[in-house]
């Protein structure tokens, strides 16, 4: 069954408090038992405690699938880019290195690329993905457009990102300020950007 169209995934990286609940919950997912697909990094540990949880953004034109020599990565009709098909994946690492968001992981002993499939076993039957169901700060949020507009009145979902000369559109939306211009968010412009201090408790978590 496809993921219901009205249900969308919204991420607000700045809200992450680094609790690792998503990392642990992700290992419970039936499609990749015991392995977490969340990528949770410290941005710049020398200067900040800020963490960034990255899940698959489910690109409209997935670079990971295009560069796969084994044609092992497929996108379902609901726009979810599935993890590698087990009989086909030859563990070449192309997808791991080509994904513009740095999402896929390589399970070396299994000779298999694994990545977030938006908890397809859950979302395809109308449940929330594991990570979104446990995220205490709702940096990872799965719900309807109406819900997010009500909960985050200062935010607007964006899903066009620029990497050098390439623009990538995604199924998962990032939350940007309401007045963000309609252009694609330039990711590579942040190449030498210093980490930005944020007052999480006062300004963000109390937003709602």
């Amino acid at each position: 069954m496809p993921v219901p169209q009205r249900m969308e995934f919204f991420i607000d990286l700045g809200r992450c408090i680094g609790c690792q609940a998503c990392v642990q919950a992700c290992t419970e997912c039936d499609t990749h038992k015991g392995q977490s697909m969340i990528q949770l990094d410290y941005l710049d540990r020398a200067n900040s405690t800020q963490t960034v949880p990255v899940i698959c953004m489910h690109c409209d034109s997935p670079t990971c699938a295009e560069v796969c020599p084994a044609d092992a990565i497929k996108k379902t009709e609901d726009g979810v880019v599935q993890t590698a098909r087990k009989p086909r994946c030859i563990a070449c690492n192309n997808c791991v290195l080509a994904c513009p968001f740095g999402v896929p992981k390589m399970n070396t002993p299994m000779n298999l690329m694994m990545k977030c499939d938006m908890c397809y076993d859950r979302t395809s039957v109308g449940l929330k993905p594991m990570c979104a169901s446990v995220c205490p700060s709702q940096a990872l949020f799965f719900g309807t457009r109406e819900e997010i507009e009500r909960l985050r009145p200062r935010s607007k979902p964006v899903n066009r990102f620029q990497f050098g000369g390439q623009i990538i559109t995604t199924k998962v939306k990032m939350l940007a300020p309401k007045d963000t211009p309609a252009d694609a968010v330039d990711i590579t412009a942040a190449m030498y950007q210093p980490t930005i201090g944020q007052n999480i408790l006062e300004e963000m978590l109390l937003e709602i």
Partner: protein
């Protein structure tokens, strides 16, 4: 017609003709060819065309074409040849004979695949030479109860037809079907019980191959049961049903999951590519200055992405291409770009006090951060 289609069709015709010639040659001008099996022969010839066509089309996709070429180049690379030949035997044994990587996924899955794979290999090793007329048996003139095995028209060993050895040989397909049926049952059990599999499986891709293997094995066993215990009851009907199931399986070979049998050995080339890459110059991330994969891999990906029409080139000095940025830095860039949008509304102090440190996993344990050694290298874990 597109050039790649013509090329793939030409390869299909050449390989099919080659097999047809070998059938004529191996059956000594069809003198040992069993006319009753002619439908099987044509099904195999069609499957050969289809498989070669699909394989040739697959090899012409930009990433596949590049890795096919690179796989051979690194295999014969000076200074690595002896090591590669040794590793070839190791990989064949671990990956193909033992299926170690599948056992790592799950022991029951490993056993399932092992049973199906060895059952099919045994069945193919028996039936194909028989269908092609490459294998036949003759009674010894001096001892009629003894059989001599002829392969490709050449006499080989002989054995008493009523011996235990003879029983084992003549029932080879029965043993093969036992293996396949056991494997199919385990696979079906998993597909009906495991929620992850239930969410992702497709009928044509995942169930049809199992149904076909089961049908072939069961109808084959019914033939044996018919002539052994039921005085040949419904034998002709069963023979036709069995032929239909086998021929449909052959015809399906190029289209569905069975194609992985032919595609999968490409993982050997990938192993050599990664092994040689590890011993050569590493790629250095142009943001955090940490090594990640091999330089060769990054340069190859830049080529493949350009051929596919992606434009990840970057004007920033010293970066050139997004492919020179390691995966952890890509994730960080994503967060920094969002932080920049919110600057002035959610805090906004630049924290660039100390030189920026490379990104690091919050939880670097295997299975929670990286999933294995390669992730550790690529993600600096």
């Amino acid at each position: 017609m597109r050039r790649e289609v013509v090329k793939a069709a030409a390869w299909g015709v050449v390989v099919t003709l080659l097999l047809a010639s070998l059938i004529v040659l191996g059956s000594r001008n069809l003198s040992h060819f069993d006319a009753a099996l002619v439908a099987y022969t044509f099904a195999v010839l069609f499957a050969t065309f289809g498989l070669t066509y699909r394989y040739a089309m697959w090899l012409q996709r930009p990433p596949t074409a590049l890795y096919w070429k690179r796989g051979w180049q690194v295999f014969f690379k000076r200074g690595y040849r002896a090591r590669n030949i040794g590793n070839w035997f190791k990989h064949i044994f671990n990956d193909i004979v033992l299926n170690r990587f599948i056992w790592s996924r799950d022991r029951l899955r490993g056993l399932t695949h092992w049973l199906i794979m060895w059952g099919c290999i045994l069945a193919v090793a028996i039936t194909f030479p028989l269908v092609f007329g490459w294998l036949h048996f003759e009674s010894l003139p001096e001892r009629p109860e003894w059989y001599r095995v002829f392969f490709f028209g050449f006499p080989t060993f002989s054995f008493p037809s009523g011996s235990i050895f003879g029983f084992v040989i003549f029932h080879g397909l029965v043993w093969a079907s036992f293996l396949v049926i056991a494997g199919v049952m385990l696979a079906m059990r998993r597909r009906m019980r495991e929620e992850g599999a239930v969410a992702l499986q497709l009928f044509a891709e995942d169930f049809l191959p199992l149904i076909l293997l089961f049908s072939v094995s069961l109808t084959g066993l019914m033939l044996t049961a018919s002539y052994t215990w039921m005085k040949g009851y419904a034998y002709d009907f069963l023979a036709i049903v069995h032929a239909i199931t086998v021929i449909f399986t052959f015809l399906w070979l190029p289209f569905g999951k069975f194609f992985h049998i032919f595609q999968r050995p490409a993982q050997l080339g990938v192993r050599f590519y990664k092994d040689v890459g590890q011993h050569e110059e590493a790629a250095i991330c142009r943001r955090c200055q940490q090594p990640f994969t091999s330089r060769m891999h990054v340069e190859d990906l830049i080529r493949v992405e350009a051929e596919l029409g992606y434009r990840y080139e970057i004007n920033a000095p010293g970066v050139e291409h997004y492919q020179w940025i390691c995966p952890p830095c890509r994730r960080v860039l994503f967060a920094l770009a969002q932080g920049k949008l919110w600057q002035g509304r959610r805090g906004g102090v630049d924290l660039g006090v100390a030189p920026p440190s490379p990104p690091a996993y919050v939880n670097p344990a295997i299975g929670e951060g990286p999933l294995g050694q390669e992730d550790k290298n690529n993600f600096h874990a």
